[in-house]
């Protein structure tokens, strides 16, 4: 099913753009690891504590040694930009996979197998969807959890909230709709067990719904993480939110707008959110999903 999904989405314009954006981001992440592993001296190009003593004053405009210039704290902007892709990819992929697994497994089996439990989970999900992800991140960041708030953990939390929230409700309603179909009745008549029907007949039909929702939700997860990092709620991880904050705040202290500091993280956010939103659109268009 997943193979079919990838193949069918790749056929569309949206899918192609989405995959290209995603591949670009993944390449950025690998490129940074490779460059910092041996090509770039770590004391100059480290995305958090790097500082180039040979250039003064910082920030500097793009040059041969610093292709995107340096920021007001003397760090290489290209290195920070490349390093910022890795946390967001980790966050997005973990969030997507966690949400997808939860919504698919519970959304297709519980409404069909355990009707009473389904009611309880449905009401809980309705409560969970009121939880706003940036607010959850703010609460966690205000507590003593800043060091624990690694991108993977944020992805896990976000995936759980989305998977048990919106995605569960969507998959659940589709599962209940399919449960009344003729082929399900026929399967029950010839003695198919409920668990078998749920996993073999219902689950494959609801996969595109869950995938499209989780891809769209991941976009908001990326923005939520960006917001939290902009306000310094995610610890010392290299990230684009912090780059934007530094560019705006320190840039204005030093009396100028440093667009070479500001544009790379802005472009990064666009690339990351667009990749997931375009993929979500391609799934919706290929499978005729309206909601």
């Amino acid at each position: 099913m997943i193979k079919d999904l990838i193949q069918s989405t790749y056929k569309t314009y949206y899918g192609k753009v989405g995959y290209i954006c995603l591949l670009t981001l993944i390449s950025c992440s690998f490129l940074h690891n490779w460059l910092l592993g041996g090509v770039w001296p770590e004391n100059i190009y480290d995305p958090i504590v790097g500082f180039d003593l040979s250039v003064f004053p910082h920030p500097t405009t793009p040059s041969k040694t610093h292709l995107l210039g340096t920021d007001p704290l003397g760090r290489d902007v290209l290195s920070m930009f490349l390093a910022g892709s890795s946390p967001l990819i980790r966050l997005s992929i973990i969030s997507f996979l966690v949400g997808l697994s939860i919504s698919l497994f519970f959304g297709s089996t519980i409404p069909f197998l355990f009707k009473k439990l389904d009611r309880v989970i449905k009401e809980t999900s309705s409560g969970i969807i009121l939880l706003s992800p940036p607010v959850v991140l703010l609460i966690l960041g205000t507590g003593d959890f800043t060091d624990v708030l690694k991108p993977g953990t944020v992805g896990l939390i976000y995936g759980f909230l989305s998977g048990f929230g919106v995605a569960y409700l969507v998959v659940r309603s589709k599962s209940l709709e399919i449960a009344n179909s003729e082929f399900i009745k026929a399967s029950q008549l010839i003695g198919g067990k409920n668990y078998y029907i749920a996993t073999r007949h219902i689950l494959p039909v609801v996969v595109p719904y869950s995938v499209s929702y989780m891809l769209a939700s991941t976009t908001y997860g990326i923005l939520a993480y960006g917001f939290a990092s902009f306000f310094g709620q995610v610890g010392w991880t290299p990230n684009w939110g912090m780059m934007i904050y530094d560019a705006i705040t320190y840039g204005s202290y030093l009396g100028g707008v440093n667009y070479w500091n500001l544009l790379p993280p802005t472009f990064g956010f666009m690339l990351c959110t667009s990749s997931f939103y375009f993929l979500s659109l391609s799934v919706k268009k290929q499978y005729g999903i309206s909601i």
């Binding site: 969807i129 706003s132 919106v166 666009m270 909601i291």
Partner: protein
């Protein structure tokens, strides 16, 4: 219909209780300290412990939760001995939030329908690559960047207009209007501007003038000018400067999302047999849109809108705290940062009620338009 509404409200109340329960535990467990912590600078530890004991701050969480719920029913949403922000402060953020949320929704919904309405029915099933790409771009713009890029220029432009028309804030001794009148007029001025913008965009892109919007605009204009004087109007216009900026950034978020929703929904509807039949019967473009496309778009759009409300609230928190608009979003950010758990719970309650109110309104409207929803 009454049965439907009752069911919706009961289900929503249950969701609010579950949501508040989760948030109460999350705030009290995850954020260190409690609403008495700020007093540590003014009191000794022994005095603070005694105060905690007397106010029940050391009781188990479930007891404190139910006590809080009871106090909400009694009319106090931020109970406790020491309150950094009381219930009145929190309630005062409702109007500012609605002042920007309603015009933003109105503007975004009206602009988001333009790409679909500009397309011929025969081409509706095709991908709208241009508008989809622009919308995805709008969604991915980070709000602080938008503020940074347009904020200064916007301020300068508005200041020039103020200088030209000699709009200055009135001295305090001349002010004789209440907060309610001021807030109401601010809302009306914002709605008026948004209506003019939508009428203008309709005329430019679709070459139509919506008579309902014209009447609404006229009504708001008359209400403003018959019920206010120069002092009030001056102060309202000065106050709306930040509101316009907040609405602009919030609308960018919403427009992107709504255009994509509309495009996908209209594309799927265009593939349905009844559209093909209508085209085969020779119905005009506008008739097919009016009778077949727009009405059928509402159901999925409303469902999607209801599901994306938490993201709307998220946008509200992000945008308000970026522009420093004194609504629920920015206050929530401040209360969490100040570890004011009582006030944060009060705002969560208001946000949940607002979300549920919008959701129930959408459901009722949906059920009113589509009898299948009522019968289900």
């Amino acid at each position: 219909m009454i049965k439907f509404i009752t069911r919706e409200i009961i289900s929503s109340l249950l969701s609010i209780f579950i949501f508040l329960f989760i948030m109460f535990y999350a705030i009290n467990i995850l954020i260190p300290g409690d609403f008495l912590t700020p007093l540590r600078l003014m009191m000794s530890q022994e005095e603070l412990d005694a105060l905690r004991e007397s106010l029940g701050a050391n009781d188990p969480l479930y007891q404190r939760y139910f006590r809080w719920i009871l106090s909400v029913f009694a009319g106090e949403i931020t109970p406790g001995g020491f309150m950094q922000r009381n219930g009145k402060d929190i309630m005062s953020t409702i109007f500012p939030t609605l002042q920007i949320l309603i015009p933003s929704f109105f503007l975004a919904i009206n602009i988001a329908k333009l790409p679909v309405l500009k397309t011929k029915v025969s081409k509706l099933y095709k991908n709208k690559i241009f508008s989809d790409s622009i919308s995805t771009f709008l969604i991915s713009i980070f709000p602080p960047i938008t503020l940074f890029v347009i904020g200064t220029k916007f301020d300068e432009g508005i200041q020039k207009i103020f200088n030209k028309f000699e709009i200055v804030k009135s001295p305090k001794n001349l002010i004789d209007y209440s907060d309610f009148i001021f807030n109401l007029h601010t809302f009306l001025v914002l709605m008026c501007t948004v209506l003019i913008l939508t009428l203008f965009s309709d005329f430019i892109f679709l070459l139509i003038v919506d008579t309902y919007k014209m009447f609404l605009l006229l009504f708001i204009f008359l209400t403003i000018f018959l019920s206010s004087d120069r002092i009030l109007i001056n102060d309202v216009i000065i106050h709306t400067k930040n509101a316009f900026l907040t609405i602009a950034i919030l609308s960018i978020f919403f427009i992107g999302e709504f255009v994509l929703m509309n495009n996908v929904i209209a594309q799927n509807i265009a593939r349905e047999p009844h559209i093909l039949t209508a085209r085969a019967l020779g119905y005009s473009n506008s008739k097919i849109f009016r009778n077949h496309v727009i009405k059928n778009t509402f159901g999925p759009f409303a469902t999607r809108l209801g599901l994306s409300l938490p993201f709307t609230i998220a946008s509200l928190v992000i945008v308000e705290s970026t522009t420093n608009w004194n609504g629920m979003g920015s206050l929530l950010y401040q209360t969490i940062m100040n570890q004011d758990s009582n006030a944060a719970m009060g705002i969560f309650l208001l946000l949940a009620v607002l979300t549920i109110f919008i959701r129930v309104t959408i459901s009722i409207f949906h059920a009113y338009l589509d009898p299948r929803v009522r019968l289900k």
